[in-house]
């Protein structure tokens, strides 16, 4: 339990919120609402998996919102051009991976600070998209675009399975694969990792590219829930994703954190907005409450791990 103290505080918060909701908000735990909640938070969840890796290696990526928008539009254009959905999925992932690779290249090989690189790509990509689309939506999509042409239930179930598999893959990969361990090693002390024979540059590059690809996947999966695609999607998405990862206990300085924590963080922040409506709290205070939750989560994290601040961070690793 001790090694999971970071996640524990978020888990406690979620349990408390659930108790409140179960007693006060009728229908919050209905199957329908849970399915809606899952779909609404699915993009954040998928991208947060990649973001966790990036933050674990001691980097950050604030361009995911812009990449998300670009991939959404690319998906729509592919579909309108008559490409089958599976192919569109591939194209979205490749487009996302390409954007991620640009970020990763600058960060890993030119050693430019990741926050600067991704700040630049965030602005440049968003404005390129605005310039090219002039804000117009991608409409007139083929009828088999929505839900990939299957029913809503099949799509929801399929996406759920996919997200769960992805989470498992990341959890197990970080724990048991060599490359997973190198992520922690690089984030804890990059020089030491290099000396130990880890190709940290390639690792950082890969992690950024992977996050790009995941962003593309999220964009595609989100786009098919509708029958037209706005060109301004994903505004502010980066903040949501980073906040979820941070609330989940991943240290922004790299080296410590878990996928489980991220999943809990997404769950907590993602359910707050809806929960407030269910509890009849005015929408005006939503942002303040979210900020309060982020702050209290990190303060709790800090207090619960304060006594072992100087301990070797490898101790905090699972397993």
């Amino acid at each position: 339990m001790k090694e999971h103290s970071r996640e524990a505080s978020v888990a406690v918060a979620i349990v408390l919120l659930m108790l409140v909701l179960a007693t006060l908000a009728h229908g919050y735990f209905s199957r329908e609402n849970l399915a809606d909640l899952f779909l609404a938070n699915m993009p954040v969840m998928i991208i947060a998996l990649g973001m966790t890796l990036i933050i674990l290696t001691g980097q950050i990526d604030i361009s995911v919102g812009s990449v998300f928008a670009i991939c959404s539009v690319v998906t729509g254009l592919c579909a309108r051009g008559g490409l089958p959905a599976v192919f569109g999925l591939l194209v979205a992932c490749v487009a996302g991976a390409a954007c991620g690779a640009v970020n990763g290249g600058f960060v890993a090989y030119l050693r430019v600070p990741s926050i600067v690189v991704t700040l630049a790509t965030m602005v440049a990509l968003r404005d390129t998209l605005r310039w090219k689309t002039q804000g117009s939506w991608v409409g007139n999509l083929p009828s088999n675009f929505q839900w990939f042409g299957v029913t809503q239930q099949v799509y929801t179930a399929g996406t759920l399975v996919m997200v769960v598999l992805l989470i498992l893959l990341f959890v197990l990969g970080l724990r048991f694969l060599r490359v997973g361990r190198t992520v922690f090693a690089t984030g804890s002390n990059e020089t030491a990792a290099q000396i130990a024979g880890i190709n940290t540059k390639r690792l950082v590059f890969t992690v950024f590219t992977l996050t790009g690809a995941l962003t593309g996947l999220a964009a595609m999966l989100n786009s098919v829930r509708f029958n037209q695609i706005p060109s301004n999607s994903g505004l502010g998405l980066e903040m949501k994703v980073i906040a979820a990862v941070a609330v989940g206990g991943t240290a922004i300085t790299g080296g410590t954190g878990t996928i489980l924590g991220t999943v809990l963080g997404v769950g907590l922040l993602g359910s707050i907005g809806t929960a407030l409506t269910f509890l009849n709290v005015s929408a005006y205070w939503e942002k303040a409450i979210q900020g309060g939750i982020i702050l209290s989560a990190i303060i709790l994290n800090a207090l619960s791990t304060h006594h072992k601040k100087h301990a070797n961070s490898i101790n905090a690793l699972p397993g």
């Binding site: 030119l110 922004i252 929408a283 303040a288 800090a302």
Partner: protein
């Protein structure tokens, strides 16, 4: 030894700022050549005036970045200080100086919370300020309900942001210089400043060297909050209003300026001089692009590329120097560096030329044709039309009409505006258009209070000023192109809701962002109409969509579940109608109707499937057409004083009421007529 033979350049520009200085000079020379009206003292001072708020934040962020920290909450601190300032003055009936003190205290509090968490609890600045970024903005929205904007300040206060000393120097400039001077003293001329560099270089080492690391960190985060509130006060005076969304996005712009100025986000390196250069580089770029009438989006693309270019050049240089033996003859190093600099500047210039040259040639060509036309028919008028936000589908469809009219009349059309709702950017654009010397300005006003001053100035310069979509103060413009009054829109929507609902029915509103001026006005009129005419109808809840289709979708899903008695969704932002409609459709709930204000093009599928009953809109294409046509008519002095109607090209004769041109009644769009509309 090396310190004795330091070349002058290294002493003055310790951080390679001369590279940026050169880039800035190049930029200025380019714009002088290409942009009309760029090279004038008044324009230079305008550029400075518009960069003060951002400049204050950048200056405050510089020492923070030097210590290896970051403060994402400065923009939000501006927002919360501004609304509390407005509140203290208007609702608290405090005199202005006292309200200023209150605002500064609020900023101090914002900074103190950051300082407590970062320096006191040793939490990472990025995450702390990400949390307070959300918290401060949320508090500003919460206490004003997003909707209240505090206006009507006395002239003596507005001078702070709008006045000029000796008729040329903006009043806020000396204040800015004072703050800069104070920060220069702190950072470059004091023990504390040295300590900050040491902390950024190695905070643990600094601690062992006896530097009170926590105290120093607390100081700069505290100061950053105070400076943010000072920026807020100047901003309020500049715009004449305080609202919860002031300063949104400023944190990233300020960080961009600081980083561009050579400050390393890893800490330990950077100067205020560099920050100022970075700031001016950005402001001059924006100003020049506007004067050249290049689309605003291009500015973002250029800034992004430049940021990448300059920072990676810096890294490359550092890597090359690090790869060499530590001690090397200084003259040799200088030679390589100059060579590299020449390369980089070459690349920079080439990029700039590649982008500007085609445009420049085109301007040259049009000015050639312009003079030909002038010989033949006199002068080819330039009509500048501004939407509230460029990316909004509503305004995009208006643009098509504007272009049509421009072709028909043979006038030059400049179509530019903020990329997202932003009152201060609107002001800035009008200023640049005055400098550029356009013939008519037609503005869709985002905030009445803030834009009227600059529109009056445009009129004084003999420019025809018209407003469309939403009006400014009547004496600030010549004509208002009235497509429908807020009251008319709200009444039409409410009546339609009453028609569709049973007499004791309930409905919900999905609005745009909570702070959207228009929407809040409509909601107020909807409530008024309900009270007056339909007392049994209930407006159950109002939820924001932030003009985001996906957010409107999930808000509607939640509303349908939480309030099963709601039988109608009124969506009053263009992207919210398809979002709400899709949610109703997917819920499978029969008997829930969606009505609202939106564009036929994006609502078509839902109108056909019967989820959306009615949308209201005027013909946006015609409205866009009218902006240019009326601008041209007035500029050509073809609207006599006291006219009761105008002849607007293909729109035929339009009625006038006083100084308002009436476009016609709002269109009621439903299944019957939606296919015949092409916007």
């Amino acid at each position: 030894m090396p310190s004795q033979v330091k070349p002058a350049r290294r002493i003055r520009f310790s951080n390679g700022e001369w590279m940026l200085l050169f880039a800035l000079m190049t930029e200025i020379v380019l714009f002088c050549a290409a942009a009309p009206g760029f090279f004038a003292w008044t324009n230079m001072f305008e550029v400075l005036r518009f960069s003060v708020e951002l400049g204050l934040l950048s200056v405050a962020l510089t020492p923070i970045l030097i210590t290896g920290g970051i403060d994402l909450s400065v923009g939000s601190a501006v927002g919360v200080s501004a609304v509390i300032f407005g509140m203290a003055w208007r609702d608290g009936h405090m005199p202005i100086p006292l309200a200023v003190v209150v605002a500064l205290l609020v900023g101090c509090g914002c900074g103190a919370l950051n300082a407590l968490l970062i320096a006191g609890l040793r939490l990472p600045p990025l995450i702390v300020t990400l949390g307070t970024y959300s918290l401060y903005r949320g508090i500003a929205e919460g206490i004003t309900h997003g909707a209240v904007s505090y206006t009507g300040y006395p002239k003596s206060f507005l001078v702070l942001g709008q006045g000029y000393l000796w008729r040329t120097v903006p009043v806020q400039l000396p204040i800015f210089l004072l703050v800069v001077a104070a920060y220069v003293l702190l950072l470059h001329r004091s023990v504390i400043g040295r300590a900050l560099y040491a902390i950024g270089f190695n905070s643990e080492g600094a601690g062992y060297a006896g530097i009170p690391v926590r105290k120093r960190l607390a100081l700069i985060y505290l100061l950053s909050g105070v400076v943010a509130s000072l920026a807020a006060i100047i901003y309020v005076a500049h715009l004449g209003l305080a609202k919860s969304d002031l300063g949104r996005g400023y944190e990233l712009e300020a960080i961009t300026a600081v980083v561009l100025g050579g400050t390393s986000v890893f800490g330990g390196r950077g100067t205020l001089f560099g920050t100022l250069l970075g700031l001016f580089f950005l402001s001059v770029l924006q100003n020049g692009m506007h004067l050249l009438a290049l689309p605003s989006e291009l500015t973002g693309v250029l800034i992004g590329l430049l940021l990448l270019g300059i920072v990676s050049y810096d890294r490359l240089r550092a890597m090359r120097i690090n790869a060499k033996p530590r001690i090397y003859p200084l003259s040799g190093a200088r030679a390589t560096r100059s060579k590299q600099v020449v390369t980089v500047l070459g690349v920079l210039l080439l990029t700039a030329f590649a982008i500007l040259l085609p445009r420049f040639l085109r301007t040259a060509k049009t000015s050639a044709t312009k003079s030909d036309v002038r010989v033949a028919t006199g002068h080819r008028p330039v009509i500048a039309v501004m939407p509230k936000a460029k990316g909004d589908p509503y305004f995009i469809s208006a643009r098509a009409g504007a272009e049509e009219a421009a072709r028909e009349l043979g006038v030059d059309l400049i179509w530019d505006g903020p990329t997202s709702l932003d009152a201060s950017q609107q002001n800035e654009l009008v200023e640049t258009w005055i400098t550029r010397g356009v013939d008519a300005i037609v503005v869709a006003v985002e905030n009445k209070g803030s834009i009227s001053t600059v529109l009056r100035k445009a009129r004084q310069h003999g420019i025809a000023v018209l407003t469309w979509d939403a009006d400014a103060e009547p004496d600030a413009r010549d004509f208002f192109l009235n497509q429908a009054t807020p009251e008319g829109i709200a009444n039409a929507l409410t009546d339609e809701a009453a028609r569709l609902l049973p007499s004791d029915g309930q409905f919900a509103i999905i609005t745009g962002p909570l702070s959207a001026e228009n929407q809040n006005e409509w909601i107020a009129y909807v409530r008024k109409r309900l009270a007056a005419k339909y007392p049994d109808l209930t407006l159950t809840t109002v939820q924001p969509s932030d003009d985001d289709r996906d957010k409107a979708f999930s808000q509607t899903q939640t509303i349908l579940k939480v309030y099963p008695q709601v039988k109608l969704i009124m969506a009053i932002s263009a992207p919210a109608v398809p979002g709400a409609a899709e949610a109703v459709q997917q819920s499978g709930r029969k008997g829930v109707d969606v009505i609202g204000l939106s564009l036929p093009a994006i609502c078509k599928p839902y109108v056909h499937s019967g989820v959306v009953q009615t949308i209201f809109l005027w013909n946006t294409r015609n409205l866009g057409y009218l902006t240019v046509y009326a601008g041209w008519l007035y500029e050509q002095k073809r609207i006599p004083p006291g006219a009761t109607s105008i002849n607007a090209g293909r729109l035929g004769t339009l009625q006038m009421r006083g100084t308002e041109v009436i476009l016609g009644t709002p269109l009621l769009i439903n299944k019957a007529n939606i296919d015949s509309l092409d916007f």
